[in-house]
């Protein structure tokens, strides 16, 4: 409760400072709109449905690509950890591609898929997949070998050991990999939406892009705030409970 209050006060002060700076005419209102005008834009976009529609389109793209990326990356990560051949090949490829900022996939995606949902999906998957593979692989490698040995003496076969020992034992790493994958996917999707217009749905990135084209800085900043809010919310709702649970179980919590 105290921490929530602290955060609330901090953000409130930030908005007040912003408002005061605008009132003092430090910058032209065209460049830096006041909190009031940003709020007015948000309210009208909320009322006419543009905002919720855009959030819906973006989240659908994100979740689709993200879930697919995890569904593919998790088993591939287990396989690269299990088989040396795959580690030397696919593992290396994943490591290389993970260093590539996922926005770099956008030109290729456009060429391959055109201005379609497929291009968006591809970019999001590329953002997610590699970091999930690497985190899973890394997680498995960090499992103390004694766990697998103990399981074997209790009659656990190869597949059983992977499903019931290696996978749960590597969960702390896997979850942080999923979190990183989420961040990458989110970034790449925003970049792709700003970059590419797709007629089958206007996402948040498009709203941002049109804001710039119309020189409507209140729209640009409003959408940026929405993007930040969604990122924060995802972290708090999707990942924090998981991480707290794992820390409790493993006894690794700090406070």
């Amino acid at each position: 409760m105290k921490r929530t209050l602290r955060a609330l006060v901090f953000f409130l002060l930030a908005v007040v400072a912003w408002e005061l700076a605008c009132r003092a005419r430090l910058w032209s209102p065209v460049l830096v709109p006041s909190p009031g005008s940003v709020a007015r834009y948000l309210w009208s976009a909320l009322l006419d449905g543009t905002l919720l529609g855009a959030i819906g389109v973006t989240m659908k793209r994100l979740l689709l690509g993200y879930l697919f990326g995890i569904a593919l990356g998790l088993p591939l990560g287990l396989l690269t950890a299990r088989f040396k051949v795959l580690n030397d090949t696919l593992g290396l490829l994943a490591l290389g591609l993970q260093t590539l900022p996922s926005v770099c996939w956008v030109p290729l995606a456009l060429l391959w898929f055109g201005q379609t949902e497929g291009a968006m999906f591809f970019v999001v998957v590329m953002g997610t997949l590699w970091s999930v593979i690497i985190a899973t692989d890394n997680g498995v490698r960090n499992v103390p070998p004694i766990y697998a040995r103990a399981a074997r003496t209790m009659g656990s076969g190869e597949l059983h050991t992977w499903l019931h020992v290696m996978l749960p034992a590597s969960l702390p790493f896997v979850v942080s990999g999923m979190k990183q994958g989420w961040a990458f996917a989110w970034r790449s999707l925003m970049a792709a939406e700003i970059y590419v217009t797709i007629l089958s749905g206007f996402g948040l990135g498009h709203l941002l892009h049109y804001g710039r084209e119309l020189n409507a800085m209140d729209q640009v900043i409003a959408i940026m705030l929405v993007i930040i809010a969604i990122g924060l919310l995802a972290d708090k709702v999707l990942f924090s409970p998981w991480e707290r649970y794992l820390h409790r179980r493993w006894g690794t919590e700090r406070n």
Binding site: R152, M154, A169, R249
Partner: protein
């Protein structure tokens, strides 16, 4: 299978180690961990393997467990050669091998779930039986990290006993514990062994611990790993680690050890 049948003690196995050799190759060179080692362990016997680090005692335990393979020779349980791990031989490790993602009860259930012929309700009963045996029935839903070192080893013991093995292999299970906790566990282990008679092979580098627990103490010397001497400990049970009779046996073993290994026996505690 009924629950009473499951909880009935399996007859302990006879172990025969026949001319087992094992070498390890590493960057540093080759270690001759076991050289032509033979050992007979009777049904229900408690045998302690003692020796300095590198004498191959843990390697032998791993071979009996089926976790490693001998380069030459064979290990038989009741006349059957060992080819891999099996539920008839359970292992208790020195390192923490409990699964942190499971609570105490689920850790004990892990091996039971892999044992065919038991209904879920029966498994629970069996697990509870062994948790009571080690005195941890109140902690069935505790997380592993919430337990003390001694409690963790008790859970390990319960987990190893739960599938009702015929042989129990213990690899320095108490080495990381403080002296007081260890003393308690000596008492518990002797009580449990009297109650659930198993053939036990117990690896340790603590001579007094070996004299306290074993019917027989087998002394290993390193480079190459060989059995150099054996001692029968004919003291009444339960034994107290601090008793004078026991100290005499320990001193005798210690003397032999120093003689066989020379000054290199420094890692062995009396």
């Amino acid at each position: 299978m009924t629950i009473t049948a499951e909880l009935q003690n399996e007859t302990p196995s006879k172990l025969s180690v026949r001319r087992v050799s094992k070498r390890f190759r590493s960057k540093v060179g080759e270690t001759h961990a076991l050289d032509n080692v033979s050992l007979e362990v009777g049904e229900g016997e408690f045998v302690c393997l003692v020796g300095p680090s590198g004498c191959g005692k843990s390697t032998l335990l791993n071979i009996v467990a089926g976790l490693e393979q001998a380069d030459a020779g064979a290990v038989l349980t009741d006349g059957q050669p060992i080819t891999g791990p099996g539920r008839d031989r359970m292992v208790m490790f020195q390192e923490p091998a409990l699964f942190p993602w499971l609570d105490v009860l689920d850790n004990v259930l892990f091996g039971l779930k892999l044992k065919p012929g038991l209904k879920p309700k029966e498994r629970l009963e069996v697990a509870d039986f062994y948790l009571r045996l080690v005195g941890l029935e109140k902690f069935r839903h505790a997380y592993i990290h919430e337990l003390s070192g001694g409690m963790k080893q008790r859970v390990e013991l319960a987990r190893a006993l739960a599938p009702n093995p015929r042989v129990l292999l213990m690899d320095e299970p108490f080495a990381a514990l403080d002296a007081l906790t260890r003393e308690q566990l000596y008492g518990d282990l002797q009580r449990i062994w009297a109650q659930r008679r198993k053939t036990i092979v117990f690896v340790t580098h603590n001579v007094r611990e070996a004299a306290c627990l074993g019917d027989r103490v087998v002394l290993f010397s390193p480079h190459p790993g060989r059995i150099c001497e054996q001692f029968a400990i004919n003291l009444p049970r339960p034994r107290d680690i601090n008793s004078v009779d026991l100290a005499q046996h320990a001193t005798e073993i210690m003397r032999a050890l120093k003689q066989h290994v020379g000054a290199g026996g420094g890692e062995v505690a009396e």
